[in-house]
Amino acid sequence: MSLELLLIIAFGGAIVTYLLGKISCRIREGFAVLISLSLVVMIACLYGENGTESIYFHFLGLPLIMRTNMLSWFFAMAVSALGALSVIFSLNYMKNRERTDFYYLMLLMVNASMLGIIFSGDLISFFIFWEMMSWSTFLLISYNRGPAVAAGLKYIIMSIIGSMAMLVGVLSLYATYETLNMATLAELIGSASSGYLLFLLIIFSIAFAIKNALMPLHTWLPAAYAEAPTPFNGVLSGMLTRMGMYGFLLIMYVIVGATRALNLGSGLFKFHYILAWLGAITIVIPTFIAILQDDAKKLLAWSAVGQGGYMIVGIAVGTNLGLSGGIFHTLNHAIYIVLLFMCVGAIQYRTGGERDLNSLGGFIKKMPFTFIGTLLGISGLVGIPLTNGFVSKWLIYKTLILEGYPFLAFAALIGTWGCILYCYKFIHHIFLGQLPGKYQNVQKAPFSMLLPMIILSFAILFFGILPGIPLKIIDTIGTSFGFKSMNVTIWGIASETGTLNTINIFAAVLIVSIIAWLMLKIGPKAVSVAQEDTYAAGAAIPKDKYHYTVDFYNPLYRMITPYLKDFIDAFYMKFAHWIQSLCNGTRRVYTGYVGNYVMYIVLFLALLIFIRLKWSL
Amino acid sequence: MKDPLKDKLTSAFDGIQIQPADRNQISITANKESILSVLSLLKSNGYNHLALISCVDWIEEKRFELVYILSAYMEKDKHFTDMEKTNIILKTSIYREKPQFISAIPIFENAEPYEREIHELYGIHFEGHPRLTPLFLEREYKTPPFRKDFDTRKYVSDVFDPIPFVGKKADKR
């Protein structure tokens, strides 16, 4: 099954769905689902192949190569699976919206370009697909006009800066080594001086850090996530932002190679150590900003920025545990952030686009399945022992502690406790508490929205209880990068410095929960009561006024808000205004009247003559 | 306080009597038309705190007597002047049949709850009062309960006694 066929199906499918859309929307949706599912199946049966290279096109004399290895298979599986789920999710969500053909075209285009990035074997096709992905994302973010266009602009400007940085790196590589094929580059790079390696790493990591929203370059993410249409949010937050992670892995471990990348720089100022510290800062500050948010999607956006830090810390630490923790966390984070965005989408679908956390409440009575999905989603996000988030965080913490980076581990752990606060705020404001009057007759989410949620919730628990399956694949990725393999068993990691056995934990929790349930059964059966029958010091419950959500962590807000003003965004805005005024200045010089230009020439000549006369006398 | 203010009062209003009540209280009785101007005069002369408005129902003389009690806020960190020690009890009386009076809110805003209470318990209507809604009572009463002609025993036997006992006691009775 050659890779070109795969890409042709992916891109062709996108265009065909657009055309089918002209005929009837039912066929278009069916075809879109068919395409994405077939992509998943095709990639699944690509499992074994390693390093199959196939030149499919020549561009300016350079061979464009497609190749696959375990790393690309892993990311491709995740991209296609999440792409299929979000297409299924958007069937209902986009039912009565305008320009849905354009939406489906762009969604499938984004999925296809991501697959292109993953399977590209040389840097030129990598760059082409990267640009294609950025542009289709920009069009999708600014899908529902108004503020979305501003968010899209912010996104596209920053990703263009990233792509230009990458282009500089690609050209410098081509200049020194005449070839852009990654495999050959990996061998030739050995001869490069450490200074050049450092330059390469920095240039490429600027592009990937912008895409992965590392701390100083993260400002596009909250606006983009908040304004993008929610089904696309799943793809955007799940795998698209994690293309930066794929890029980091590519540049640090595939092209530059692990040994060289890990001892660039000296002592405390090693490249990977600074990158780890950037990741640690990215964990802490966005997590505390997420606690302040009152908009559901903004809260999830800041949490996605925070969780990105874990992945960076994982791969930047440079041990096999850290690397597998980082990659596994990329997959886990993709699963539960897509699940949480789908829950927000289901709520929006049922309440007519309501996103403000303070005007929702008590939805557990009306949408129980969405509640279960959100509960599993936030338990994965927090890292509760039976969910997949816990396993990847356990790996990262273990390596941080044993390698002797306690302050990095401290930043990561504080991120988790901050994460609990906004996770509970998210689920409490939407699902618990009093149901407002106007949402009394809200029905369940439609099945086409619930199906992806059920699959993802199952995935969270499945990977949480039996982490051996994904960890085995990740271990082979680690060994392909030259790391020592950790002995992965079905139930976790078995190593002398501390084993993880999730099946023991699962069995213990299961038995003990049954015991606790029996203890509750000792007492007489409880009478279930309506939400109005609750303690109010003897008074009757005021309608729609007995729900506490505004300023939920008020004592904490007062303490942390002064430190959390978004300095970086403000700095970028000031910088942008400064450049704009600079441009205005030059515009005033080139006014476009010929007279001015003649005057400039005359003046300049006069100046030259004057200098000539003055010095020559 | 006594002389300058007393002369000012007697000169400004006719039909006003001023006599010292007990230790440091002065009771002033004025007719109902001049009440507001007396209040504003007293307020400008330092008695800027309206402590209370209450009402007495003289049913034999067919009149309600409204009592305004004024006192002075103590100036910050100054020694007690004798003015601050004295309270002024301003009395006026209105006819009982049509209980009608003007509200003192323009001069003292904090008169609002007192007048609401008097309206609820005595049935005196105050013009210019923003909201004469019920303040304490749970239920409507044909004659306001604090009036002398409100017969509590009859009210209790009408409202509470007919309610039957429940369970064993009811069977015995």
């Binding site: 410095t497 003990v512 409880a526 | -």
Partner: protein, 296 residues
């Protein structure tokens, strides 16, 4: 053998926890010159609560309290109780850290479901206080783990058996003192009783708990008392050879903490977090620096 341990350690924890509850009410009474209830009063309360027909606000209301009690019981399995440590080989300190947030999350979910602002305020205070004492606690635990270069608590206890208590070993002295300063916050008692402040927010998350729910909540509270003190004894006072010494060490620590509980009034939540983020964090930070220097 392992199966017997699996049953024995939660049972032991339950008995000791409920005994501690009864003891705390007795000691508090004696400090206030009162005669005080019998030691077995919590047992009487639990029996009475189980016989009452309570009110429930939905399935999550039931599942939440079950989930929180299960979380505490499972956490006990990870704690070494003087040679009894059933689940020592599956995750070590990191699992304990993460298990400690199961119980509050369970009560938070069921409290939230009871649709009462008092419970929501109680829960938000609980998480803020947890964030408050988690900052120094994480620094202390990381200092311990980097000092002993292990993440399994059984290993830490065995090292302390032969090299003496961590509390008195020089590099960890400051961390030990910081831990003592935040112990009342971890146990949720008087100076930091902001969560179940029965006067202000009508006992916070427990406002809507009736008969059996309140019984499970009391048992969970007893267990969390046990866990907080057992963790301290294991990490800093070197665990114990046999059960009796372990129990005695816990008793001494508990009585001392009770005196603090009896003497101090309840802090406001801002004061609590300001205090927690100032002195204990400073001590824990310096302790961490010392551990890193000693490690170099």
């Amino acid at each position: 053998m392992q199966m017997i341990e699996m049953i024995l350690s939660p049972l032991l924890a339950l008995i000791i926890g409920i005994f501690f509850l009864g003891l705390s009410r007795k000691i508090m009474a004696r400090i206030q010159w009162r005669y005080g209830p019998p030691i077995t009063q919590p047992v009487i309360d639990v029996i009475r609560l189980f016989s009452q027909k309570s009110v429930s606000h939905g399935k999550l209301f039931n599942l939440g309290i079950i989930f929180s009690l299960a979380g505490s019981l499972v956490l006990v399995l990870f704690l070494p109780l003087a040679q009894i440590c059933p689940l020592s080989g599956s995750g070590g300190m990191l699992v304990i850290l993460y298990m400690m947030l199961l119980a509050p999350l369970g009560i938070a979910l069921s409290g939230g479901e009871s649709a009462n602002p008092n419970t929501s305020i109680g829960i938000s205070r609980k998480f803020i206080l947890a964030l408050g004492y988690e900052v120094p606690l994480l620094l202390i635990l990381l200092a311990l783990m980097t000092h002993y270069k292990t993440i399994s608590i059984v290993h830490i206890v065995s090292i302390q058996q032969n090299t003496g208590w961590a509390f008195v070993s020089l590099p960890l002295l400051l961390s030990g003192i910081a831990y003592v300063l935040i112990l009342p916050a971890i146990l949720g008692i008087r100076p930091f009783e902001v969560v179940q402040a029965s006067q202000e927010i009508s006992s916070g998350p427990m406002a809507e708990y009736g008969g059996p729910f309140l019984a499970l909540a009391t048992i969970q509270h007893a267990l969390s008392l046990f866990i907080g003190i057992a963790l301290f004894v294991n990490l800093f006072l070197g665990g114990a050879g046999n059960l009796l010494i372990f129990f005695l060490k816990m008793l001494v620590v508990f009585v001392l903490v009770l005196f603090v509980n009896a003497a101090l009034p309840r802090l406001r939540i801002e004061q609590a977090v300001k205090y927690l983020w100032r002195w204990p964090t400073l001590l824990a930070f310096i302790g961490m620096i010392i551990v890193l220097i000693v490690r170099r």
